[in-house]
């Protein structure tokens, strides 16, 4: 654990709470396993001593800003997480002056589950280009980290080249396993609708059955509603209790969005997500 980094976070958090600048600080604390991290809400200056930061801090805490949109909060974010703040700003879900962003320079995080952490960095960290968050008010500067720069879409490309029947079979098998717990949605900073289409009764888009057809509709539409909006934190995949490879789905759309519209979500709060805008002159492969 980088104790210098933690001291910076705690110092800043204490200052914000003592001065009354924010009502609370959303950060990480040690989980009940004594090994990994969990989200923590500090409301008292004394509570900042519980704040930590290390390679097990996978959670994207920007997700909580929508719950707390009426109170000024500080939030600890890695570079990837901070893209969600830009997304939420762009979509007017939060106000910039209601958030104090404590950015951290990220050493990358590892795959964790309760009482377990991997040695290796998460796949997304191995291809991550961001060292500093694109948005922050205070930057906690950790040790400089050299990170392997990999090709981010290798697995997507492999999937693309499989025969169509194999792709169909692969995804059917994955979606069949879904138990519709909606953890992927609940953890997602981009999924903030007060009423999700999947739960709407009128029109009844999907229905309650936990069964292959309904699961497929849910999973495909969840991914599509995040097309050009997914910031790639892969939290949905981390929390999935039945290990559906959601990132492999999300990053297909991310890749296409990049190729078609030269856009990456959450890098700039001013830029509109591609499905919220258009260019008159583009053809996108459709004959006129």
């Amino acid at each position: 654990m980088d104790s210098e980094l933690i001291q910076q976070i705690r110092y800043q958090a204490r200052d914000l709470l003592e001065s009354g600048t924010v009502k609370g600080v959303i950060g990480y604390e040690r989980a009940s396993d004594g090994l990994t991290a969990r989200p923590f809400f500090a409301y008292e200056p004394a509570a900042v001593e519980r704040l930590i930061f290390d390679e097990t801090c996978s959670h994207n805490l920007a997700r909580y800003l929508v719950d707390k949109k009426n109170e000024k909060m500080a939030v600890v974010v890695k570079p990837c997480d901070s893209r969600a703040i830009n997304l939420l700003l762009n979509e007017e879900q939060i106000k910039r002056d209601m958030v104090f962003v404590i950015g951290v320079t990220c050493p990358g995080v590892v795959e964790t589950s309760w009482n377990h952490k991997d040695e290796e960095l998460q796949a997304r960290c191995k291809t991550c280009q961001l060292v500093e968050p694109p948005v922050y008010d205070f930057l906690a500067n950790g040790e400089a980290v050299e990170r392997p720069q990999g090709e981010p879409y290798l697995d997507v490309q492999q999937m693309e080249t499989k025969p169509i029947t194999e792709r169909k079979a692969f995804w059917s098998e994955q979606f069949d396993r879904c138990i519709r717990c909606y953890a992927c949605r609940q953890v997602c900073p981009g999924c903030y609708c007060p009423e999700c289409f999947v739960e709407q009764l009128n029109p009844l888009w999907v229905g309650i059955r936990i069964a292959p057809k309904e699961n497929e509709l849910w999973q495909i539409m969840r991914a599509f509603h995040l097309a050009g909006r997914c910031i790639g934190c892969d939290e949905c995949e981390r929390v999935c209790p039945v290990d559906i490879p959601l990132s492999l789905l999300n990053r297909k759309l991310e890749k296409e969005v990049k190729e078609l519209f030269d856009f990456q979500a959450g890098l700039n709060p001013e830029e509109q997500p591609p499905l919220a805008t258009f260019k008159k002159e583009e053809k996108l492969g459709f004959e006129e």
Partner: protein, 331 residues
């Protein structure tokens, strides 16, 4: 008298069982261990701490049709669903067996839930006692044990060259293969588990119903349904109609008290709209309401929720916190 079954005999026995009925057993699927109906004994895995999902789905499936409406040409008829076949669940842990016994409370009391009741009557449980425990396990703190035989028909305990077979019920006796001999070995002592205090917890939930603790705990809760869906004792369900092209079906599916709209009535009013109220409902039901109705905490200590919660809401910690909260009068 305990019997003994060798590994080879076990395989032959399972093979015989799956010919006669549905045999559900732990199977490795994409890195998960799930109870699935098997067609070959080789599919079964016995190398697991506990399964990813509990075996409750064999009695309360994620989705089932309650009845369908037929005969739209003449007068409509409501045709209730029925259960076709006898089943055996092999390899469930004692904690999960207790989970099923707890679900019996709401589902078997009058009027009995027909589908559950029928499945329960036609399913036999062959348990597998735990020779090792996981860090998330705490069954002994909530009235079960790694070698608890009270809720299965047969309990197997692995020893060096096979399994000791305890036949618990007549239903279990009827399943046994012929020719098993008496076990020469004694049952091994069960593994030890760390104790979680639960003595005052029911009282504490009642006393601290209005405590800000719930709202604070709910801060980090995502209100996903994982805890409820992996839990062997959570049994909430939703019921909806499917028009189904003129032959409507009434379907029930798992639901969770954490989901938005769980208690929202037509017109929009929701008595448990607040995050804290929803999270409190989960623990109040397990630790206060259920014990008041059925004399037992609705938790078997399997630790699945501990392991699966994306934000580490740990029921052991919650129970311990509640018992340590100071009474309002004292603070």
């Amino acid at each position: 008298m305990n019997l003994f079954i060798s590994r080879d005999e076990l395989i032959r026995w399972l093979d015989q069982l799956l010919r006669e009925r549905i045999l559900a057993a732990p199977v490795q699927v994409q890195g998960l261990t799930l109870f699935q109906p098997i067609s070959k004994v080789e599919e079964v895995t016995l190398d697991f701490g506990n399964t990813t999902l509990s075996p409750k789905e064999w009695f309360l499936p994620p989705t089932e049709t309650l009845f369908s409406m037929q005969g739209n040409d003449g007068h409509p008829q409501l045709v209730p669903s029925t259960i076709e076949k006898d089943a055996v669940i092999f390899g469930l842990r004692p904690c999960d067996a207790k989970g099923i016994a707890l679900m019996d409370g709401p589902f078997l009391r009058e009027p009995g839930d027909a589908l559950y009741q029928e499945r329960r009557a036609r399913t036999s449980l062959i348990g597998l006692s735990c020779r090792q425990v996981q860090p998330e396990c705490f069954c002994t703190s909530v009235g079960s044990a790694p070698n608890d035989s009270s809720h299965v028909d047969i309990l197997l305990t692995e020893i060096e060259n096979g399994y000791i077979v305890q036949v618990i019920t007549e239903k279990g006796k009827a399943l046994l293969p012929e020719g098993l001999t008496e076990s020469k070995e004694e049952l091994p002592a069960p593994p030890e588990l760390q104790a979680v205090p639960t003595k005052e917890v029911t009282q504490a939930v009642r006393e601290f119903f209005d405590n800000p603790y719930w709202e604070q705990l709910a801060d980090r809760c995502l209100h996903c349904n994982i805890c409820a869906y992996v839990c062997p004792t959570c049994y909430c369900f939703d019921v909806r109609d499917y028009p189904n092209k003129g032959n409507p079906e009434r379907v029930r599916s798992w639901d969770s008290c954490q989901s938005t709209g769980f208690t929202r009535i037509a017109g929009g009013y929701d008595p448990r709209a607040a995050k804290g109220a929803r999270l409190r409902q989960r623990f109040s039901h397990k630790l206060l309401y259920f014990p008041e109705e059925f004399q037992d905490i609705a938790c078997v200590g399997c630790g699945r929720c501990v392991k699966s919660c994306p934000v580490n809401i740990d029921i052991r910690e919650v129970m311990s916190d509640l018992q340590q909260l100071e009474a309002k009068s004292g603070s």
